[in-house]
Amino acid sequence: MGLLDVINLDVIFGEAPQQVHAVKGVSFSVREGESYGIVGESGSGKSTVLRAICGLAPVSGGAIELGGREVVSPRGRDFYKTVQMVFQDPYASLHPRHTIDRVLAEPLAIQGFDNREERIERALSDVGLGPGFRFRFPHQLSGGQRQRVAVARALILEPKVLLLDEPTSALDASIQAEVLNLLDRLRAERGLTYVMVSHDLAVVAHMCDRLLVMQHGRAVEELTRDALRARTATTDYTRQLLAASEGYKPAEPK
């Protein structure tokens, strides 16, 4: 049993004739302090798994357990104090008319934290943004800075688990490196547990100890970083992903 267990999870959207079975019987277990990756192509259901964990998608079958206890729907306030999410697109996930100060103050107010001034300033400096950013609006920040704010917003509640949905896919390569380094450092400093979704095998291999490959809503294969490096993937699909991540190869002889 881990800190976060997903047991035989099913996610079904919609009603009978147009039903979409987005996640089909996915199970995995994330230990405390571990960084766990989910990779797959678009439509594989990888983001839906994350959204189901934090209550943004329905749990149609199976269960999600946090610290051995099944989570309830709707999730309670204490759930969000333990689990926070960072979304894919920093251009869409910050309110365009709220200052950074307000973005960061809101979760503190909801959870009834004290010393809010101090916490906001510390949260900003933790992600490498100075106090000068506090009263800016999102449009006054670059993509990388926005994603830092999104990370700060998630971490300001001092959660144990961070759900990361493609945190760097909207960013340039050099900015991606900065954000990945930031996430790496914060995990080492605070013993955080990560569940990270990405389509980029190299990013997941860099960040995660273990990973799950998903395709068409199903878990295809679970492997460790070492197994990935040793290329001991057992399924064709994982091998295909690995080959594609190495760049273009002229048509192979048939």
Partner: protein
């Protein structure tokens, strides 16, 4: 094979802003033969603006100037709309990044491909239909008849991108500018699309300008690479020699990518030097 298809000298693109004119492409020069040339850079480096300027697609109020901008001996500077119409689509074309915004949502895929043929060359409806279907098949669409009659919203993103490529290729252009043609696609589909482009270059002798931010992809797919930073070409080199890049920006771009096999922690980040932008 080495005849020059496109030559660009000192290309500049300027947009007027409230703070005075902003030059987004600043003196780019290159020549293109029948080969795969990559333009790489990060967002805002001017790579897409360069591609658009070549096709005369710089949106107003942008101003394009160049000492030389010629395609197969035709001077493109100050070309009349009539000349552009004869060139674009028929002899030079562009594949855009996102099929969702570049296909006409209220026209079937087939009608859009046939439209490209209608403007360029006279052929009967049945002929056009046959060529459109053949093209869809050539871009690895499994059920071309269904896709032919489908509207853009009825097909997936990967298929939409292949439809775009089919539409651009049906007139068999000599020059194709592909602006991040595969970055919206899944990696496994990406390989198929690249294979189609590769085939056209090697079999039909098309010239390809491949605009991308993905250095790893470019180094394995293209022949030559132009690296752009702040509107300028900072380095030009053979794709196979990318690992021997001299410019600190190129080197930084390569080294900041995480790799499956190595464990560099923390990842090197780019220290941007103000002098690169000069």
């Amino acid at each position: 094979m080495s005849d020059t298809l496109l030559s660009v000298e000192n290309l500049r693109v300027t947009y007027p802003t409230r703070k005075g004119p902003a030059e987004v492409v600043r003196g780019v020069s290159f020549t293109l033969g029948r080969e795969r040339l990559a333009i790489v850079g990060e967002s805002g480096s001017g790579k897409s603006q360069t591609g658009r300027a070549i096709l005369g697609l710089t949106p107003k109020p942008g101003i394009v100037t160049a000492d030389k901008l010629s395609f197969d001996g035709i001077d493109l500077r100050g070309a009349k709309p009539r000349q552009w119409r004869a060139l674009r689509g028929a002899r030079m074309s562009m594949v855009m990044q996102d099929p969702k915004f570049s296909l006409n949502p209220v026209m079937t895929v087939g009608a859009q491909i046939m439209e490209a043929l209608a403007f360029h060359g006279r052929s009967s409806r049945a002929e056009k239909r046959d060529r459109a279907l053949a093209m869809l098949e050539a871009v690895q669409i499994r059920d071309p008849k269904r896709v032919f009659d489908a509207y853009p919203h009825e097909i997936s993103g990967g298929m939409g991108q292949r439809v775009m490529i089919a539409m651009m290729l049906v007139a068999e252009p000599d020059l194709m500018i592909a602006d991040e043609p595969t970055s919206a696609l899944d990696v496994t589909v990406q390989v198929e699309v690249l294979r189609i482009l590769d085939q056209l270059v090697s079999e039909k002798g098309m010239g390809l300008v491949f605009i991308s931010h993905d250095l790893r992809l470019v180094s394995t797919f293209c022949d030559r690479v132009l690296v752009m930073y702040a509107g300028r070409v900072v380095e030009e080199l053979k794709a196979s020699e990318l690992h021997r890049a001299q410019h600190p920006y190129t080197r930084g771009l390569i080294s900041c990518l995480p790799e499956i096999d190595t464990d560099v922690r923390p990842l090197p980040t780019l220290d941007r030097d103000a002098s690169w932008a000069l």
